[in-house]
Symmetry: C2
Subunit: 246 residues, 2 copies
Amino acid sequence: MTQYFFILADSELELVPQEIVNERCILNNARARGKAPEKILLDASHHHPAFGKLPDSERRGRPDLVHYFLMLCIDSDLTAEGKLRVFVHTRNNDVIAVNPETRLPPHYPRFVGLIESLYEQRVVPSKENPLLELRQGVTLETLVNALKPDEVLVMNPVGEETPLLEKFGSIKSERVAVIIGGFSRGDFKSDLSKLKPTNISLGKRMLKVWTVTSKALCAIEQASKMPEVTLPKPSKPRRAPKKKAE
Amino acid sequence: MTQYFFILADSELELVPQEIVNERCILNNARARGKAPEKILLDASHHHPAFGKLPDSERRGRPDLVHYFLMLCIDSDLTAEGKLRVFVHTRNNDVIAVNPETRLPPHYPRFVGLIESLYEQRVVPSKENPLLELRQGVTLETLVNALKPDEVLVMNPVGEETPLLEKFGSIKSERVAVIIGGFSRGDFKSDLSKLKPTNISLGKRMLKVWTVTSKALCAIEQASKMPEVTLPKPSKPRRAPKKKAE
């Protein structure tokens, strides 16, 4: 059985950064939600007027991408069969480990509230029942190495275009990390080269995080249902058959 | 080329019903959003305290399911290739037709606002550029018949468990309607029998709307990439082989 680790890497999930914590749109949004401004998640949809002051402003503040990724992974057959563990890695090297038993709120504002609680408490709902756990200062490389994968796949438009079903159908490794970018624009910020990954492109069209996640999950599930094709090993040259079998 | 029509049927999307329009949680939520209470979408996550007065309360108020369905469909390869048209049918027989050019907000509260505008204006963003159109009083049967499908498939746990890749790989019809339930509990409310559908079950586990949608999309995409398997037709009984091939 192959154990898969899905990692949403460099995802655009973070608390409101200090440099814009006093911007009007942030203060208004925090007040409306009854929270301190430095304890709310940065959200491009609410806080865009303050984004001019942030570097990388065109890609930041996308907790919704994390939400889609988690909802798809958690309800997958792979999770139900115990073959998938899921991690979220962020632009600030925060890592969220997700217990496979977790049921997350499908309602986005509740998900945002839950992640904000996680940043306050480091674990939710409680230490006795840790469904989500936050570790800070963990690079993507550290996370991947800790999982000891035999193979690292990165869903990356710069990679080779590979039919997913074939790729996953041919996997023999016991532990496979699948890395998906948690951003809507640009490239990975983490250095992937040390992970010696296989880059897999799904084609020229820029795909959304939910589409990439869904394609990877489905291909693994489909591949596991396909009859195994055992190709003859070209070990020794065989004698030529006397007659073709017809 | 097969043209697919994905229909989210009996989906739990509706404006706040008249009988609970004066409940405190509805009034508060409407005031906070600066809208009239009868013009906001019913949402189980915000309005649950008022649900006791509604029949079918355990399943109503789930615009989030519609959002997941649409986000997956719209970014799919099928839509990009012009092979998919998407419709949302609701418990009140409202039908939303989605222009394949539509790009919806991934941010859930913005999606809710957009659908509320659609209920006010019947078309958004404008009549000249109709990306979403609302028709009311259209039953599922009327909608499906209008699409003139050669084949109707219903993703239905009561159906026969069918490997999706095989099912979609064997489709020869030109127009195929795929019906997915837009609710989290219970059964279809519409009468499906007149559509003479093929019911397809994905197994015993109750799956979320996004999982079913994603599986159906991926299976169609994968099936279209598979080499066509032409099985030998067992037309005449063959002579028994003299010896088993080993």
